[in-house]
Subunit: 242 residues, 2 copies
Amino acid sequence: MSYQLYYWPSIQGRGEFVRLALEEAGAPYVDVARSDAPGAGVPALMRLLESTELPLPPFAPPVLRAETLLISQTATILEFIGAHHGLAPQEEAGRLAVQQLQLTLADWLAEVHDTHHPIASGQYYEEQKPEARRRAQDFRAHRLPKYLGYFERVIHQNPAGERYLYGGSLTYADLSLFQMVEGLRYAFPGAMAQLEPGHPRIVRAHAHVRERPRIAAYLASPRRLKFNAQGIFRHYPQLDTG
Amino acid sequence: MSYQLYYWPSIQGRGEFVRLALEEAGAPYVDVARSDAPGAGVPALMRLLESTELPLPPFAPPVLRAETLLISQTATILEFIGAHHGLAPQEEAGRLAVQQLQLTLADWLAEVHDTHHPIASGQYYEEQKPEARRRAQDFRAHRLPKYLGYFERVIHQNPAGERYLYGGSLTYADLSLFQMVEGLRYAFPGAMAQLEPGHPRIVRAHAHVRERPRIAAYLASPRRLKFNAQGIFRHYPQLDTG
């Protein structure tokens, strides 16, 4: 199956969680808004978002097209990729467990976003800097340790061993945890340097994913966008601790 | 199958989305933290959250126990209930579509929460009142109309007709949309009074759910907690518009 991924062309954002799964699956896909093929590019993304004829319109990107199926919401897209490419258990208990982990990662990601946009997602960071400083301080002091501690515990309590979040093989949730660590190291290098030594299982899980051949090849390719000051993970030194 | 629901005993919160699905399904369940049976109550909830022996610990309530299965994350619990009680399509496309709708409802709910807690979920509202005022203003002006407009459009574009969000029969996402409207009317009566006339399909969908016999019986029962100033939906007049 060949896929079309619809996502903003200049940021990793939520689209990156989908890209990592497609890359690990070795699934061919077109990153539509980044393509210069006829009919592609950002206008194709906008047409999709504004269509009044879809049986179920998407609320926001990312959107994945898989033949006639159009799927949005990152976790739902990952559930689909996981089921079709061996990146999630097939049986119900395991499938639900990995979905549950992914939704907690999604909550964590939303809180990262709100460190620089605590008041209004439609306004600039510069319009909410004092509030961002307060929210980021709370994030570093309470929320970041809470989420790191949780996922450290998940890996530790995994009855199949400490290599993955769930069971004995890689799932899309492991790829997403990798991306969280990547982004947090970029956005909050000071806070992460302090916290990582206390969370060795997460650090190892991140390293395992980075070493997977397809992921390593992807990260070294031009398909991997760089973090920047427009994405969800942003490095504003005043929001980090030194 | 008999269920145990683990959730805070004094608020509707995220647990309410699960309760509505269990009630509509006619599924027997124990609301553990609200039960005074031996071994139940809040201590039972705390033991579950703090257990270091679970194969997959929950991050936060609600948690549903279904025999040996322990499920957390509201949308994952609803996916399970939907599949086992006819509140979601069985085929993949429909199952994913309803999940996708639920995740957008979950994003909306998180934004409602942050109107009164824009800085720190662990601090009191009283410690973040000016920021809450700014965030609520943005919510009323931009985010609330955006979400309402989206779900209005979803109902309108449903090829099976305008009664449900997806397809031709009730799903757990319809129950959750009902709860969003209930909560928003409580928290933002002024803003909702202004916006509802422009979203007649959502108003009708809410009314349809309220009239379902099991839902009507539930709402009239003591099992339905009242909205209050500790929940996700809170009525602070200064955050609403008159």
